[in-house]
C-alpha cells in the first residue's frame, strides 16, 4: 500500500520529499484510526482519501508561489498547429486513429508505464492542473480558485494537456500496438 501511495503522490507532486511527507502523514493518521475500521479495504480507501487531501493541501500551498499561474504559457498556443491543415481540419497523417478497445490495455503493466511517462512529459503546472481535474476529481471552478487563474485559461490548459497526452499515447502505445498486431 505504501508503495502505491508513494507512486501516486510522486506523480502528482513531482517532488520526492514532499511525496514522502504526504504519505507518511496519511499513514500515521491511518495507524491511529486503525481500530475504527472493520476491514482492510475500508481502511485503504480512507487512507487514500487522506492522502488525496494532503496532496491538494500541498498543491494549494504551492499555488501561492510565483510561477504557479504560468501554466497557460507552458504549452504555446501554436504547439499543435502542425496537426491541422490550412482549413484547420486534421492533416491526413495526424487524423486521430481508432484505438480499438483501449480498455484492453488496462491489463498491461507496460501500458501504465507509458501512461505515466506521458503524464511526466507534460510541463509541470500543466500536468498539475490536469491531475487536479482528472485524478483528484476537482471541478474547474475549484482549480481556478486554488490557482488564481481564469476559467478560460483553465479550459485552455486542460485542452492542451489532453492534446499532448493523447498524442504521446498514440505514438508510444496505440500505434506501436497496431504494428505488433500486423507482425
Amino acid at each position: 500500500m505504501r508503495h502505491d501511495m508513494l507512486k501516486f503522490a510522486r506523480l502528482q507532486l513531482r517532488d520526492e520529499a514532499a511525496a514522502e511527507d504526504a504519505v507518511q502523514e496519511a499513514l500515521a493518521a491511518a495507524i491511529s484510526a486503525r481500530a475504527q475500521f472493520g476491514n482492510r479495504a475500508q481502511l485503504k480507501t480512507w487512507v487514500f482519501g487522506i492522502l488525496k487531501h494532503k496532496i491538494v493541501d500541498i498543491i494549494r500551498a504551492r499555488a501561492r508561489s510565483p510561477g504557479a499561474g504560468q501554466a497557460i504559457e507552458e504549452i504555446p498556443e501554436d504547439a499543435y498547429d502542425d496537426l491541422f491543415n490550412q482549413q484547420d481540419r486534421w492533416q491526413e497523417e495526424s487524423r486521430p486513429s481508432g484505438w480499438g478497445n483501449p480498455e484492453q490495455s488496462y491489463a498491461s503493466r507496460q501500458f501504465w508505464l507509458v501512461f505515466e511517462l506521458c503524464l511526466t512529459r507534460l510541463p509541470e503546472n500543466t500536468a498539475r492542473i490536469f491531475m487536479m481535474r482528472e485524478m483528484l476529481g476537482l471541478e474547474t471552478a475549484e482549480i481556478c480558485k486554488e490557482l488564481s487563474i481564469s476559467s478560460t485559461n483553465c479550459w485552455v490548459v486542460l485542452h492542451r494537456a489532453r492534446m499532448g497526452l493523447r498524442l504521446c499515447l498514440e505514438e508510444r502505445w496505440f500505434k506501436r500496438e497496431e504494428k505488433h498486431a500486423e507482425l
Binding site: 501516486f8 487514500f48 481540419r89 486534421w90 487524423r95 483501449p102 480498455e103 476559467s151 485542452h159 499515447l169
Partner: protein, 59 residues
Amino acid sequence: MLNCKQAAELMSQGMDRHLSLHDKMSLRFHLLMCSGCRNFGKQMKFLRQACRKISHDIG
C-alpha cells in the same frame, strides 16, 4: 461550420463545463461527418477513464 480544431476544443471543454445548445448541435453535426473527430472524442473519454482508474485502483 466547425472545423476540426474547434471541434476538438469543444469536446475537451465539454468535459469541464456545460456546452451551450448551439455548441452541442454544431459539434454533433461535425461529428456525423468526421471520423477523425469521433476518434478524438473516444480518446478523450478514454483518457478520463484511465485517470480515474489510477485514482480509484489506488484508493
